[in-house]
Subunit: 159 residues, 2 copies
DNA sequence: TATTGTTATACTCTATAACTATA
DNA sequence: TATAGTTATAGAGTATAACAATA
């Protein structure tokens, strides 16, 4: 069961993400790199050295393939990603970070994933406590989300 | 200081908000009411019976006044809000929820603010613990955010 | 003269439909 | 025939600039 305390906790998370210093930081992360939210999402999703089929991105976010083309074009224009052929299937194009993309990504990730300053109000022990509680919640939630929605997470991912 | 545990906690919050069941629920909330994210934000910002000057909305979200006009137009077309004159200043227009807007708002809020199902993995005691920790963080964070950014929060709000 | 809100306009983000190449 | 990606196009979302009314 979710209690009143749980509901308040969720609301506080909302405030933290959408109202506090984190929001300003996301805006900053985008203006530093000069890219759109969609491009940012793509940049953060890609891993250095690992190509991802365009189709997989479209499925993962439930967006149209043409939009992935558009995102990839924009990122490619800026030299942040490149299209690579798939080893076995010549229809497939893999999107991969360039060197420039790797550094842009890590710059953005540093801003993006750094906790909002309010975290400094917690002691080290409290931060660990918070982490442990959230681990439980997030694990349960993702498990359920995958069970319900993402039956599509087939491990296509090949080099 | 923010510790490694704190950073992980923040990342888990991210996952919870953007990847888990919560994300699906936000989409659902929008499709139920059939309105855009901007309109949703406006709807949730307004309080039943309380009008807000359009200028205040623009300042609060740091968006252009013309965009607030556009949002208000769209919501007004759907009969969810109405423009009302300001008591003292005839330049100012107040945006206020209609009856239909009040019920649309509470329907959306119910979906929006209900914790993701992963919360059920926590006992009642743990939910309280989580809430207490988040209260500390959110309070500190909003305080800092207000100190840095929102020096503009002047209490114009009049009926 | 400064401020609130609107109109006209354009640019970005995202989707639909028709298409090409490969399987 | 089905699938991966592209192109052309159109619809939302958001901003800029010029404007009208009021202060």
């Amino acid at each position: 069961m979710t209690t009143a305390a749980g509901r308040e906790a969720w609301r506080l998370i909302h405030d933290l993400v959408f109202k506090g210093t984190a929001n300003a930081r996301m805006t900053q992360a985008r203006s530093v790199t000069g890219i759109s939210p969609g491009m940012m999402k793509t940049l953060l999703h890609l891993r250095p050295g690992e190509g991802v089929p365009m189709r997989e991105l479209a499925d993962h976010w439930n967006v149209d393939a043409s939009y992935v083309t558009c995102l990839t074009d924009s990122l490619e224009e800026r030299g942040l990603v490149e299209r690579r052929p798939h080893a076995n299937d010549r229809r497939v194009k893999m999107v991969a970070l360039t060197d420039k993309g790797v550094s842009a990504r890590s710059e953005a990730a540093a801003l993006f994933y750094r906790p909002p300053v309010g975290f400094r109000a917690l002691t080290s022990a409290e931060q660990r406590q918070l982490r442990d509680l959230l681990r439980k919640v997030a694990a349960a939630d993702l498990e359920i989300a995958d069970g319900r929605i993402g039956a599509r997470q087939s491990t296509l991912r090949s080099g």
